[in-house]
Symmetry: C2
Subunit: 122 residues, 2 copies
């Protein structure tokens, strides 16, 4: 299961500044010079954080005259979160290290741990 996408998005949204920026940019597009004044941080801090949001695929950008306007891509946010919930509800999960599915594990920790430890030794 590839969860890099989720990690990137959750990580991008885990910083107070980036979360606020994301919420603001969901209302309307904003440029770096506006954001730098709205939040009291340096211009590079804004650019760096926008880069992280961009790499998480969370924002759109559009150049207009001398400015670059950034905005939150709410559609992607919605679709990724939907995917995440599908994964949460998916009936079974493969346990890579042990080469078995979670449904193969007995409910008794004594037995399940023994199975897992054996698998690990191989």
């Amino acid at each position: 299961m590839d969860s890099k996408k989720f990690e990137k998005i959750f990580s991008a949204l885990s910083s107070p500044l980036r979360l606020q920026i994301t919420l603001l940019m969901a209302k309307r597009p904003l440029c770096v010079c506006e954001l730098e004044n709205i939040f009291d941080v340096s211009q590079p801090a804004i650019s760096q954080n926008l880069k992280i949001l961009k790499e998480a695929n969370l924002i759109d950008e559009r150049k207009e005259k001398q400015w670059t306007f950034f905005s939150t891509n709410k559609e992607i946010l919605h679709s990724v979160f939907s995917e995440f919930f599908e994964l949460l509800e998916k009936e079974d999960t493969f346990i890579e290290i042990a080469g078995l599915k979670i449904s193969d594990l007995p409910y008794d920790p004594k037995k399940s741990c023994e199975i897992l430890r054996k698998k690990k030794k191989l």
Copy 2:
């Protein structure tokens, strides 16, 4: 706006290990000794990560005999993510540092930045 809750949850889910643990525990309750064998990390690493998930309010725990079973609280996940999307769609947002709403900002960066800079100096 209080966004600590969201930061905590996003941060909790931003680590590969915690994300995997969360997905597994969504399928069924698991104890520390099982998790420590499923993922190849030390027992304290599991406990510490469960603590972070617990502080984000993402897991339930239940003692049974000598074990403590942890499971993902999917209801809370759903409700918090819903709240997050409401916040995303909320029509207006207050810009604390400038003492104004985002809808008060003109669309022209030249004007908006000037307004913001003035507000900051006060």
